[in-house]
Symmetry: C2
Subunit: 319 residues, 2 copies
Amino acid sequence: MKDAAWSIGIDLGGTKIAAAFVGPGGEISHATVVPTNAGEGAQAIVDRIAALISDLRRSADKTPCSSVGIAVAGQVEAKTGTVFFAPNLDWHNFPLKAQLEKAVNLPVVVMNDVRAATYGEWLFGAGKGLQDFICLFVGTGIGGGVVTGGRLLEGKNNSAGELGHIVVDINGRQCSCGNHGCLESLASGWAIAKIAQELVLQRPNEGKALMSAVKGNLHALSAKEVCHLALEGDPLSLQIIDGVVEALTGGVVTLVNAFNPSHIILGGGFINGMPMIIERIAKPVKERGLKIATKNLSIVPVGLKVNAGVIGAAKFIGT
Amino acid sequence: MKDAAWSIGIDLGGTKIAAAFVGPGGEISHATVVPTNAGEGAQAIVDRIAALISDLRRSADKTPCSSVGIAVAGQVEAKTGTVFFAPNLDWHNFPLKAQLEKAVNLPVVVMNDVRAATYGEWLFGAGKGLQDFICLFVGTGIGGGVVTGGRLLEGKNNSAGELGHIVVDINGRQCSCGNHGCLESLASGWAIAKIAQELVLQRPNEGKALMSAVKGNLHALSAKEVCHLALEGDPLSLQIIDGVVEALTGGVVTLVNAFNPSHIILGGGFINGMPMIIERIAKPVKERGLKIATKNLSIVPVGLKVNAGVIGAAKFIGT
């Protein structure tokens, strides 16, 4: 009956913590969001999550809760639930599962946030019923999750699916990870912002619309303005988006040829904000990928626009 | 007892067919090689393989043989054993399993050749006992096989592991598959030959050693001469090999970050002929790959230098 019970799902990000009860059919109840205040340190965050769980259980006191699943924007050791590295929280080797279980007296599962979202998509979203699919989430960063042969890939250290760090341009820009030419360094929110800032400096005339969108404050220029102005037809913004499409196409071809999934499921803030990008990627991927790998391939948007991480973490029963 | 029996393994390539009895411990007996003569067409090849199997069974008439495994340099449909596409044989949708079973009256398993070699490495080579590893074979072309979570990946259409066609340079050269910047277009035997021929034309002075190695016949210039002269210190050949190392490093970083294997196993004619390449790739991969993905990573040569495909195909019992 474990699957049929309600459980609590938590999505712990660098700026906010989302939490909710999740029902057997993926239904959300008592959803709540609080700020992470990452600067206060790990113990304060654990205390905040524990309080959040207490509040949830109190406010839904007729709902039996069997476990807590927590999705973290970082790399997690599967067995111990220790967060190996979470850049947005500045955590290194933090024993989140142990600390939180002590605090809330419930079994806690800790997992990577995009892998949790992939699991949520698998159960209740665009991956429902599929055996071979890949979720690629393009937001501030890029991450993913891979299901192949009916299993969510973990790899040796539980870090399989770091799809933002596949190399699509060996001569390319430096990535936040230190490598060069990673997909994330060319197509993520932070990369779009960086590329836009550089181009505006190099070509001030063409960059006028972008600069005026941030009232002349170059460092405030983000992917948001680029997307917005691209939709309005600004040539420089369109050119930046063309580069993003090119990089994403290369990355998706890599995934299609290496994993041979039936579906590529695209989500994350950037894709959700510009869903027409999916069609722009799908066409060249089908032309450039191997015939055998693309012959039954669908490239589709995520089914769960929000709460995929909360839902996936709550329902994850381990492998 | 299926595993304990002897079976026949066959490696069907574009130029030759290798066959042998393979014992329960991977031991080879009655190994034989005949030319493929691909130009004679599919039926002639099936007849030749059937005769080869007859001869093998006759010459080893005290060895019980339960099945035949055949490794093909092409894409294979798992259930039907139909060869979807084998460029070197010019086969499209050829029902090899059905044809061969009719001819030899034994159960036949058909599989991709590099995946068979990966399976051979898993059972008896450098992958023995591992749960998460990738074989990358760099020869005339580039192919691979992926084992993750203790399973050989197949993907939706049984084409997972086409690792020669991961994109490492979105602005790169055209590949034989039609795409641009695939690993194979920068680091395979055919690519090395093509790059060398172009460079010799562009820089005739620097290309003197290479041209003299082929007695002035540019079109005869192959990866073999480039490797040979690089080992002797010829600057242009060394520069070509540097480019290959760079591309392979990018490709292996992609594989390490996406799959998080414990081992990358490198083989194929190019690597076997220049084993020092492994160390040249291993160092930058460990620097450029994600910390969590590289912390237990080993990059090693194949254990079975020859017959990995014959052994793997003979022992493959399906998934």
